[in-house]
Structure formats: C-alpha cells, structure tokens
Symmetry: C4
C-alpha cells in the first residue's frame, strides 16, 4: 500500500495494526483529526506544536512526529511508544527522529497521570509570556470555570484565580524537561505550563479534557492580551469587577 | 445503536423519537448544527455557552448540555423539558446534570415568549462589559437596523440607540436568573442581556431570529471595541456622525 | 416541491425556470454561493449586505432579498427584475418586500453598465468611514494594482492614489440613491462608494470583477485601519515610501 | 471538454497531459489546492500573489497565472515553462499574459536551486515593511527553529536572529528582479525577501518546504507586529528574554 500522506514519504507502508483502526477515536486517527483543528486555530502552523495521546488501556503512547505539516498527517505518520519501558514500538517512515517534545509529554503522563498532552505555538500564549513575568494570572472571568482545580475534585470558580507558571525556553526542546517537571511539582493545581517566547503545554485526564482545557486557556490568554492592551488588569478582588471599567 | 458522539459516552443509546428526526429544522438537529457555527465564531469554545430551542408547537424545550464540546454534539445529547411543567422528558446519557443556563433560557421563554435563546462567551461581549458600565449603548450604525424594537412592531432605525443592559456575574450561573429577570423587566425593548466578565444571552421569537439578533449584536460589540480603541464614542446625536472623525 | 431553504418559508415552491438552472454560473446559483463566501468574510452577518447580478444577456437583474440570512439562501429566494422596464418578473415566497438596495444596485448598472454590484457591512469599511472624511485615499500599496482606472483602459499603478468617495448614511437605504448617484457622477474613476457608519457598495463589469474589486478594496481598507493605528499615513508621494517607517 | 473553471474562460480546452494528472502531488494539481489554502489565509485575495512549482524532474516550471482568482483555479489554468530554455511549453486559455512574477520565481530557482517559490500579499508582511527599515529581524522566538540556515545544514536555533531583507517596490513587478537578485546575493542565509508595501517571496527546496517556511515566517511577521504594538523589541540578546516584559 502506498502512503497517502503529502509529506514526501513515498516509501511503501505496510498495513500496521498499531496505527490502522476503523475506530475514529483511536489515538492514531484522533491525532491527525485534532491537529487539523489546531492548524485552523493557528496553533501549529509551520510544523510547530504537537500532541501525544495514550490509548484507552494506558499501555501505549501515540506521538505526532515533529517537523512535519500537522494538518497533513495520516495515522501511518505516528510514533508509538510502550508506556512502561518508554521504548518505541513503532517509528514512522516520514521521520526517524522522535519528537523533541516526547520527554515533556511523558512528564505530564508520569507525574500527573494525564491521558493526553497538547503543545501549541499559539500567538496568544507567546504574547502572554511577553506581557507576564513568572506566572500568568487571571480571575473573575466566566471561562475560568472550564478548568479543573486538580488538587481537589471539581472545577475552578468564577472568583478563583487561574495561575499558569511560565518557564524559560531552552535552545533544545528536550532540555525543557527539568524546568517543566519543576513547574509541575511547584504548581500542583496547574494543568498547563507556558514556555516563554515559545508556546504552551496543556494536559488532561483524557484527550477531550486536554482539548477543552487548551481551548479554555487559549481563550483566556487571548482575552488577557486584549485586557492589557485596554489597560485593564487581568485579576481583581471579589467585588472589584467594575473597578477598572473604561467608561 | 451505539452513540455516534465523541464525548466519551460509550453507552448504548436507544432510538428516541424525542430527539431523532429526519427534519433538519427539528430542534435536536438544529442545536448541534448551530453550535458548530457558533464554535467556528469563537463563541462557545472550551464547552462555553449554550442554546435552547422550543419546538414549533411550543410545548417542549430542547436544551444543549453544559460542560460538553459544543461542536461535537449529536441529537442524542439533548435534554428535553416539558414547557408547562418544566419537568424533564429526557435526560441524555452524556451528562445527567441539567445545564445551569436552563433557568435563564426559561426566563426568556416565559417573560418574552421567545422561541429560542442563545448564550455565548463571545470575547467582544466580555470586552464590552469591561469597557461599558451598566449599559452597552451604540447608535448611528447601519447594522442596528437588524434589531427589533420589541415594545412596538418593526426594527430599530439608523438613528436609534441600541441599549443592552449589563448585569453582574454570580458564582453560580443559576443565580443569575433573578438579575436577568430584573433586567428583562427594566428593559422592555431589549432582546439581549450582557453579563459582566461572562458573555451574553440573546433571544428571539424563533431560532433564526435569535441567531440573526446574536450575529448583529456581536458585530456591534466587536465594532464598539474597535471604536473605543480608536477613541471614537459609540453613540452620537443626529447630525453628529462626522463629529468624531479621526482625520 | 417543498422549499429547501432554512428561512422559515415552508410554502410550496413551484419549479421556476427563472431561477432553477443546472449551470453553476447562473446568477440564481452564484448569488447564494457568493453570499456564503461573503458571510465567512464577516461582510454580511446578521442579514446585512446584499448582491445583485445581471444575467449574461443583460436583460434581467437578479437580486438577493434583504432581511434574510445571506449564507442560507437558495435560488428560489431570488427576486428577478426586467432590466429595461424595472418591473419584477419574480417575487420570492420568502419575502414580498424588494431589497431596499435595489435602487442603489440599479444606479451602478444604469450609470456604469455594471454587470454586478455587491454591498457589504464590512467592519473595515465602517471603520474607515470613521477614520476618514469625505474620501478614502490610499497609495503606494501593491494591492491597488488590482483595481481599474475606469476613466481609461487598464488598472491603477503602484504609485497611483485610490480614491473612494464617502457619502453620509440616511435613515432609509433607498434614500441613499441620490447621493450615491452624485458620487458616481463626481468620481468617474471610482468603482465603489463607501457609506458612513454603514458599509460599502462595489461594482464591476462582471460578477467576478466585482468580487475581485471588493476583495482588493477590503484588503486596502483593513490595511488602512492598521496603518492609522500605527500612526502611518495611508498616502505618500513617490519616493516617500520609507518616510514614515516606524523603526 | 468544456473548461471547469469559474473565471470566464468558456473556450473549449483539450485534454492536456502537461497539466492533467491523477496524481494529487502533480504541480498542476498542487497549485490550485495550495492557492485555496493561501486564499483562506488572506494571502492572495483579490487575485494578489502567486506560486510556482518545479516538477520532480526539475525540467519544467508550473506557474499560476496572475490577475485571476487564486482560489478558483483549475489545472488547465497553469502556464508551463521549460526550465532550461525558459520557453513556454503551454499558455492557458484564461490569460495569454505570463505572470509578472515569473522572473522573480526564476531567480529563486536559478540562484538557489529552489523547487518552489510562493508570493503573497500577506498584511503582516506589508505591515512589517512599514515598521522595519531595510531588514526584518527577530530572535528568541521558538518558531524561528522552523527555518533553515541555508549557508550550512540544519535549521536556525532559538537564540539565532532571523534576518529577511526588505527591498523597495517598483512600478512594474518584473522590474523587481534586479533588486531581488541583489538581495539573494547579499543575504546568502535568506529563504525569503520582503518587498516594501507589497508582500513577500518565500522559496524552498520543495513545495512543502516553501509552504512551511512561508507559514513560519508569516507567523513571525504577525507576532512582530503585535510585539511592536506592545512596545516590545523583536530582537534581544541571550539572557535578555525577560528584559522587556510588560508586567
């Protein structure tokens, strides 16, 4: 069977049960589908960003290759890793080089039991790392309620403050692992880490939760840029919701 | 029959005449279709927002579940309520918890005879609640003519002022009902209510009117943000259309 | 045959050779197709805007109804007018009220021999009518070369100034006809007229030229808003292209 | 066979093996497909921009016609040129006039061995030519790593500075060839050239590389406009990543 992808890997691909499934919710099918959504959001243009999903059984990790067009992937392009041994069960034809994001995805899986981790180069994420210091903070916005408390059951409330740590970027993506892990340890309530001048990592219990968290956080990052531009602080005390009105 | 949705409700769904219809204008078909449009507008990302439609006979209310991905719903995900008794005729498998928006949707139905009510987290709506005090006001913009007078037949004119009340947000969405109802009473000409740092509720006689009003209002909210950013007031007297030109 | 449209006109529609054609370039097919494109551009949301196309023979005028959702029209929704007598050959079931834009479309047809005229509520158009006085002017931008000279053969050059007259809006759209016609007379080189706080009318020899002109003009209007926001004049003399650089 | 295109060339088109291929990666199929993507990006609206691709053998050059709607092209609309002799093997019915971009595309092919060259009127590109002097410079942004070093193997690093020369526009596009070639000579590490008040030319070893480079560069141009707007320099020294934070 000839590869269907448009990424110049014209090598024959054998039928591979690890990535070929008729089930649309199989990780190897979901990754290409969701990456097209993320591409249309402007989150993964120019081959930027990535995603990793664990299978339902949790024993395998599916990873999008880096350096390829995210909106033009096919299931055959996926890396598959054994969760326990961290050994590759499958390396795609399109690129032999595992994604530099892999240790970061694994940090979310191992430290938080995440089922999926999404990495984007969202411009709102990058702009917030230029507008905020070591933490992104926002409160008193309804959309915050889409995000989990993590340290206890349930979601954040309207008056709660969402705090996302911002770590410094490194020359090589894999070198981010230490500071990402440190941030995960220091912010037990965080479900995301921003990377200065780079983008964001968002994870969740399942792929759908990770996607919803990413959408809700990106909405808040975009709104925060607009609030700062209008001279409105992104946090305020209870009862101060009208304090900074611009009228 | 296995559920077609991608929201992790893998429970068997029996054929259900309340939500299964070949008619594309059936509320259970329209809600998923319109929510995809709203998602692409950025109005309901991250599970935010919602919509409720009454059937043509007016005796049933269809309500999108909250906390689910709005662009990935199927008819089987809908709640159905008896309009008169306000008792649930159907609770979907995807979530047992009725939408917290339900009392707000019902307020528009009961107090105004609305046929549909749309709730979005539109960023233009949220920004306007940060830029305006207790009312959003705009005049002398053609798009205003898409909106109804309500208190009498016909639509607003170009020189009329569109006024949308802004109410304060509450910790729990259902607690908004009192102030929403008060705003509906105090603004008999309004077809929408803004909620500070949260979003907007827009209703109409039919689902299509509600959609058109929502689009026209969101256009005006977006324009108002741009006008404020450029230092141009959003209202002006007749004959003052050129007063604030920036040339 | 039951009407396919989603605009609540559930009345039976008889097969009508004036609007039913298998040819995708028939005006009754093109108008719905292009209005969907314009809707996705944000030009005709909330039922705003419109379009009129003359048939290839030039003896008939097809007009989109006003007050209906522009992205959900079907050929059966079209008005058809006899070009010479200006009498309606066909009134659609969806609305009996001819579009208030009709006299404006006819002005472009009769005074300029246009084959199509597009009306949008583009936010960039409205913003430019708030930022410019009685004329929109831009020069030394490559995209200007997509626009025709009109008064002589060929297109504008890079160093030419594009001038679009801005007329004042009126309470009723049909009352714009006089000032639109005056603008057409006074600006023989214009292929468009801006209407303050309202939108824009753009016409061309054919529907495709009108569409291309509208896209090119809207690109320039959007760019002009950004230039003004950055403090850069939209016109400059030859050799002054670097005079206003912000570095 | 009648032409399928919607660009008013209703002349019969004979089956032509130069442009008719069942292979989706054939240049005559890829050009229309990619131009639709670029149109949706806002890069080639109003007939602006263009693209040229060499075939896999490298002996033929496929060129999109200028002055036509880029999102509505079909393979029959393509020019085909012999790479060695620069003579046209095929002139389409839609326009006899070769694209004025041809000498610019050929410069990238001949001087750099490029396999494809993309030209857009991206507003972010135009804005950057109004905000920067003779060079666009950006550093310390992750997305830079999608771009090649050219002068040696591998891609730029996070701390490297991306430099894109900006040349002055000319009245006629073909007159840009001299200064474009000079810029290519003077900037051996560049894979793109910005043209003041006009747009950008981006090339790559293959069409996919050219597309990825264009996306990555446009992301950086868009980000640069936002950074300037927020008062943040687009370059900084190593260790200065937090120097210009706006908090």
């Amino acid at each position: 069977m000839s590869c269907k992808c448009s990424q110049q890997c014209d090598i024959d691909v054998m039928s591979d049960p690890l990535v070929l499934s008729a089930d649309p919710s199989h990780p190897a099918n979901l990754i290409p589908e969701l990456c097209t959504v993320f591409y249309n959001n402007g989150w993964v243009t120019g081959t930027g960003g990535g995603i990793s999903i664990r299978n339902a059984e949790g024993d395998k990790v599916y990873i999008a290759p880096s350096g390829v067009q995210k909106e033009r992937m096919v299931p055959e392009n996926m890396f598959v890793m054994d969760y326990a041994s961290e050994e590759y069960l499958r390396v795609p034809q399109i690129t032999k080089k595992p994604s530099a994001c892999t240790p970061l995805f694994m940090s979310a899986f191992k430290m938080r039991g995440a089922g999926a981790c999404i990495h984007t180069h969202s411009q709102s994420a990058v702009m917030c790392t230029l507008l905020f210091g070591d933490e992104f903070r926002i409160s008193n916005i309804e959309q915050i309620k889409a995000l989990p408390k993590i340290t206890e059951a349930g979601n954040l409330g309207f008056f709660d403050e969402l705090v996302i740590p911002i770590i410094e970027n490194t020359a090589h993506e894999e070198d981010l692992a230490d500071s990402l892990q440190e941030a995960i340890r220091n912010y037990p309530g965080a479900t995301a880490v921003l990377v200065r001048r780079h983008g964001i990592y968002v994870w969740g219990e399942t792929v759908w939760k990770a996607k919803v968290y990413n959408e809700a956080i990106d909405y808040l990052l975009e709104l925060a840029v607009k609030m700062r531009q209008a001279g409105i602080p992104t946090t305020c005390g209870v009862g101060e919701e009208k304090k900074y009105l611009k009228y």
